[in-house]
Structures are given as C-alpha cells and as structure tokens.
Subunit: 460 residues, 2 copies
Amino acid sequence: MSLDAVLARLDAELPQSLDRLFALLRLKSISADPAFAADVRKAGEHCVALLAEMGFEASLRETPLHPIVVAHWTGPVENPDKHVLFYGHYDVQPVDPLNLWHADPFDPRLEERDGVKVIAARGAADDKGQIMVFLEAMRALLAEEGRLPVKVTVFLEGEEESGSPSLEPFLAANAKELSCDVALVCDTDMWARGRPAITTSLRGLVGEEVTISCADRDLHSGSFGGPAWNPIRLLAKILASLHDDTGRVTLPGFYDGVEETPADVRASWDALGRDAESFLGPVGLKTPAGETGRSILEQIWARPTCEFNGVSGGYAGDGFKTVLPAKAMAKVSFRLVGKQDPAKIRESFRARVRSMLPPDAEVAFHPHGGSPGFSMPFDSPWLAGARDALTEEWGVPSLLIGAGGSIPVGNAFAHHLSMPTLFVGFGLSDDRIHSPNEKYDLESFAKGARSWARILKKLA
Amino acid sequence: MSLDAVLARLDAELPQSLDRLFALLRLKSISADPAFAADVRKAGEHCVALLAEMGFEASLRETPLHPIVVAHWTGPVENPDKHVLFYGHYDVQPVDPLNLWHADPFDPRLEERDGVKVIAARGAADDKGQIMVFLEAMRALLAEEGRLPVKVTVFLEGEEESGSPSLEPFLAANAKELSCDVALVCDTDMWARGRPAITTSLRGLVGEEVTISCADRDLHSGSFGGPAWNPIRLLAKILASLHDDTGRVTLPGFYDGVEETPADVRASWDALGRDAESFLGPVGLKTPAGETGRSILEQIWARPTCEFNGVSGGYAGDGFKTVLPAKAMAKVSFRLVGKQDPAKIRESFRARVRSMLPPDAEVAFHPHGGSPGFSMPFDSPWLAGARDALTEEWGVPSLLIGAGGSIPVGNAFAHHLSMPTLFVGFGLSDDRIHSPNEKYDLESFAKGARSWARILKKLA
C-alpha cells in the first residue's frame, strides 16, 4: 500500500528531514526587529528554494514590510478537484533575554529534556517546525507517488510575529489566485503529548473603551460630595450590570448566534479531566467564575465572555485625595463564539451604557477591534478526514478542541477567500514559544510529517 | 451704653486697626516652605508682642515645627465664670504662581474691586484678617471698659497651612492650661456679602483603600476569560452595591447617629435659593446625585455620603491589552455627619466587601484617615448668643450653615479639651484664599471687629 511506503520513507529519511529543518532554523528571521530585515528575506528565499526544488512554482512576493512566499503545485495530482492552501509563517519571535537561553537560539540541536527528545532553537515550534512537517510530508509523497493527493498552494508569511500588517491586503489583492477549497493552518497545539487535536473553534473579540464624564473639572469631595455625580459610581453600576449571578452576560441579544456544543464533543472534553483545580490551580485560583453549569473547557472554548481589561479614574497613587473626579474610563472586551455579530454586540453594549447614564453624564466610546469567532462546523467532511487520519497515526482518538483566544488568519481566509480553515498542529503547551529555550518535540516533528501525509491522502 | 462706645471707637480707629493688620500681613509667614521658617517665627513673635501690649500674658511656645502663640488674659473680667479660647493661625499659603498677582502679595493695600473696597494681600482673609478682627474687638473693649466681658485665651498656630502636625500633640500636652468653656474659631465664611453665618456642622471623613486580588499574575483574557475571576468585575459589583436607587448608602448601620436637621433651619436653607442650577451649573452639572428628597444644601451640609475618589486596575494606557488583571483597587471615602462613628462605618464597609468576594479573591484594606463629623447642637446657648449678636450687627438674620468638608480643629478641641466650638468668620467665597490676589473685604474687617465685640458682650 502506497501510504505505507510514504510513511516508511519519512521514517527512513528523518535525519535528512532534520537537516533541512535545521538549515531553516539557522536563519535569524526576527520580523519585529528592523535590524534583521535581511535575515527575514533570506528565510523567505530559503523557503522559495525548498519549494522550487520540490517542483512548486514558487516565488517571493513583495509587501510593504516582509515578503510572502507563494508556491503553487502545478504537477500531477491524484484528485485535482480538491485544492488546499497551506498557511504558515517563516518569521520568528525576538530572542531576548538572550542570557536565559542554554544555547545559541539560532544553532539548532537535538536535546533530551526530562527524558524527551526535542529540537531546541528559536522557531522550532513557532512556526518553522510546523511548516517543515508539511513540506516533508509532500516531499515523501512526491518521492513515492510522483504526484500530490490534492492540489496544493503554499502560503508562508514573514510578518506573523509583527501583527501581520500585510496579510489581509495581500489576500484581498490576490483573492483569485489564493482561493482554494480549504485552508490548512499549522500553528496550533495538540491537546497533550501523544494526544492529537484539531482546533475547531477560536473566540473572536470586541474591544470597547468607555469614558464617562460628569463635572467639567475635578471637584472637592467635601464641597460637592452628595449633589455632584461621580463618574466612577456610574461606571461601577454599568460594569456591575453586565453579568448576572450565574455569570451570564446580560446584554440583550448577546447570545444570538451562540450554538450549543454537541453532546459527544462535550463528553470528550469532560473526559479530559481538565477541572478547576488543574486549570485554575496553577495561577492561584480555585473556583470557576464563568457561567454556572458549564465546564471549564466549555467556558473557554465554546462560551462568550465579557471581561474588564482595565479601569481608571480619579486619584490612584499613594495616599489619598478627596477628589470627586471628572472622568472615569474602562476597557471592556467581549470574547465571541459561533455566529455572534461583533457590530451588534458593540451596539448593544453602547445602548446599555447610554441607558444607565443620568442627563448630567456624557459618554465617549472608542472601539478597539472587532472580529467574530471562528468555527469549523462539526459536520464538515474536511474535519472528518483529518480527524480519522490523526487517529490512525497516533493510535488514540484525535480530539476536537477549541481555543479561548483568536488566530486572525482563520477569519481572514473566510472573509477574503471564502474558505473554511482546518487548524492542525503538533505543538505542545510546554514548547516555550515566544520564550527562551523554545523547542519542538522530535516526536511532533516525525509523527507530524506522517500525520500530514495521512491527512493529504484522506482529503483526496 | 458701653457697647455703643466700643463700636464707635472701632469705627473711629479703623485706620489704626488697618495699620496693625498691614504690619502683620507684611510678614512672609509661609509655613509650608522651609525657606520661610524665620519669617513664620517672626510673625508669631509679632502676635505675642501685640497681645502682650494689650495686657495678655503672651508667649511663643516651641513645637517640632513652627511655634504656637498662647496668650491668657489675666486682667479684670466682667463675667469671670465664662472662659473662651480663640483659635486662629498666623501662617499663610505659598504665593506661587507669583506672576498672577497684580501686586506684591506681602505689600498689603486697600483696593477697589468691582466697586467693593478690599484689603489685598496674602493672608488677608486666611487667616490674619480674621485674627485681627478679634484682637481689635478686644483692644476696643479694653480701651472703653478696662476689662474683657469674659475670660479669654488666645491660641494661634503657625502650621495650619502645613497640616497642623503639632496641634493635637500640643493640645494633649497642655489640655489643662487650654481647656475653656467654648472655642471660637474664626477661619470660616459668611454665607454671602452682608449675610453673616455661623457654621454649626462640618462633615467628617473615613478614607479606605481596597485592593482585590484574584489570580497570582495577570492572565491572557483569551486563555482564561470565563473561568478566571476578574477583580475589576468583583470591585464593580461591590462599588455598585453601596448606593441604592435613591442615592442612600446601603451599608448596615450607616445612618446611625445621623440626625434630622430642624425644620426651621431647613426652611432657612431653602430660602437661600441655592438650587441645582446655581450650585451645579458652574461645574457643568444639572441634576443632583445625592439622596432624593433632600435639598442641595442639606445634601452638602447635613447628609453623609459615600464617594469613589479613585479606581485602577489592568491596562489603562493607550490602545488595548487583552489582560485579565490580577488586582484592582479603589479609594473610597465616606463623609460623616452628626454622631456617625468612623470606626463602625469602616468596619461595615469592610464587612460588605468581604461578604461579596468569592473564595478565590483576596482583599487588602488600607485606611486613609477617619474623623467624625462636627456639629454644634442647635440648642446651644453659645450659639444663641453669637447668633443674636451677628443679627444685630448686620441687620439681617444671621444664618446657621454647614460645610461639606472638614476643619479638623473642631474635633481636636472636642477630643482633647472637651469643649464645643463656635465657628464664626467673615470670609467670603470670592476671597481667593490659597490663590493669587487674595483679599478680605474692608467691610468684613470693620464689621467683623464690631461683630466680635458684640459677641463677647453677649457671651458675658
């Protein structure tokens, strides 16, 4: 059977695969530091060369900042009716503080940490290792079969660690060239070592800054305390009104578009044993604050929130001032799931604030971003194929998980290219991405490449 | 009639009285600036000399900072069974910014401002003018009658504009020497030009800083938003719980010791026409925020409050951070009236905070001062006498008013010397105390001295 040969070849050529990964890891593609701009370009050129060598029509595409690698497979394909876009990023985080690294971050090496073989280098997990497992899978497929299972376009940006300023304009400008049937995005984690996972939901975000003004100056609390409105008092009432006693958000229409997680998926989450103690204990907490009756993982992965990210008003320094402040400000954010509409939620929040103010108070709103949640439908055939492939490779049921934060690229692909995104990655929570001594498990690398070979075959 | 002679003498000798005031105003007794320490002492010595010249046993008493003037009348007295302590302060505020003064702040002069004759100088109203009207009244009484109506001790401190650090220790250490039947405190205002007033109530203050901590570090609102407690959310609920919809404070026992203002006093306040528009309009407000059913003046003068003087937590700078903060802090103060107990109110507040926290949250309290309100009983004979004297001098009913802030000396006299305090002063709200171009109306000076002569006679 052909897949077996592909997998056997990946196993046999692991040393060569590692050499190719190490060559990429040696390039100091720190996108945030202008001093490394030439190194970033060199890494992009290196990726182009790797893809061209495999037979892709690969090119480096200019942007106002760092170039984007676009490569199209134009050779033979097993099922030419299916076309996937693979997304990764070849740039890396800065390495400061350098003195906390045990070895040169750009001199990759195999190490053993706590009995586990790991690849140690900046970018090993985020995201060069995760890119290379996909490229190595295609290399083995091509070597054994002379063709790819499906049509593939590779899209690698060099600005992910700098906020991806060029990504959306580039997608918009090249929508026709880049639109495929599905995007494969690789910079996510497994659930745990040995336990593969597909991230099917990410939470969106609506950020709002609200400033309430009362008197036209700070007042003395002795001379005016009583008759004069205090904006902190008004702000506290507003913030306190946003959650009910069960932790639900009280804005009208807030839960429109929030779907219930299927019972079997919830059961699989419950089986993970991620209880309050194991989740909250490490940060010094004990009891869940979210909606009552929802598990910790459901609260994080499948439920929207309203959070207060900052608040200020009056005198907050040492000592005490008997000031009755003119203004008070809060930064409020909503994490969104499913089909919640950021614009409607922003408007519902603003309406709530306005409805609670006396005629004396003025309010100013400042929006700080708005993006919907991302979700891959649980009944998607893309999901089913990938899930089966992962289960077969790892010998345990692969999980469908969520993530509490955002990866904007999923929404960008949906918005500009009208295609769904499958988030599959082999990172682990202890990979120390963005920190000193980043690593990628050797198992993640070896079995990650085998996993992608299986997934591509399944998708065909 | 002897009083008429005293008053006639005050009128006739007004130029000499002004000369004596001007000599004191020329002394640069800025207590807050160590560079003027010798000038402060010089002003104290000047007061001692003035009192000694009138026949007082006067001395300068050392403190760790600026000296205190104590002078006892040991000569003949009309009614030796009554003994009053007169309090004032001979130090003044700094003069910065000097460039906003129209003339040298320490070169006193008579000016006409908006058709009103005023004495312009630093300290003219606060408090040298208010001291000198009392001294001039005694000088005229002695000249005409050869005795004072009652026993008098004069107590002038030189640290009032520096927080009076030596006052309470000095009172405690010299309680026997200084205890009298009543204290006369002169640094208050009239209600308006031509409208004398006695301040019968001042609000006390309890200051509390409350810091709520949840997780042991700042968290990412994507990774933890939902399950993790947000201290801003807890703080907002607590602050929002402190007032009900009618503006009353909801702490148990908060109104214990708050007395209703007599109907006739309230009617006299209502007659002043200080409505929301005239009181709040100048600071850009319209509708009263205090307890419904209470007039503006009652809210300020006779009702306690809970105010929020500062709040902070999380990220409050430009832009947005998806942080779920570890801590949030508020500075809360309570203005107290009547017999409200600062310690009980502090404890009631702390109990409320503790009762609203989940087991995950920790709270730290930091006290910022606590003093009860001050009030002179409306049925006090001291009050009746002074009120009648003022009414006779000014030809209009003198008012009993309150003040929203605190003058700590009233409580200090009650606490250390067990005597009530009568606040009578002739300042006006446009005196620009603490600001450039301070002044004291010539009428306040002339009729102030006449008023004190009448009051001293009444008290006999």
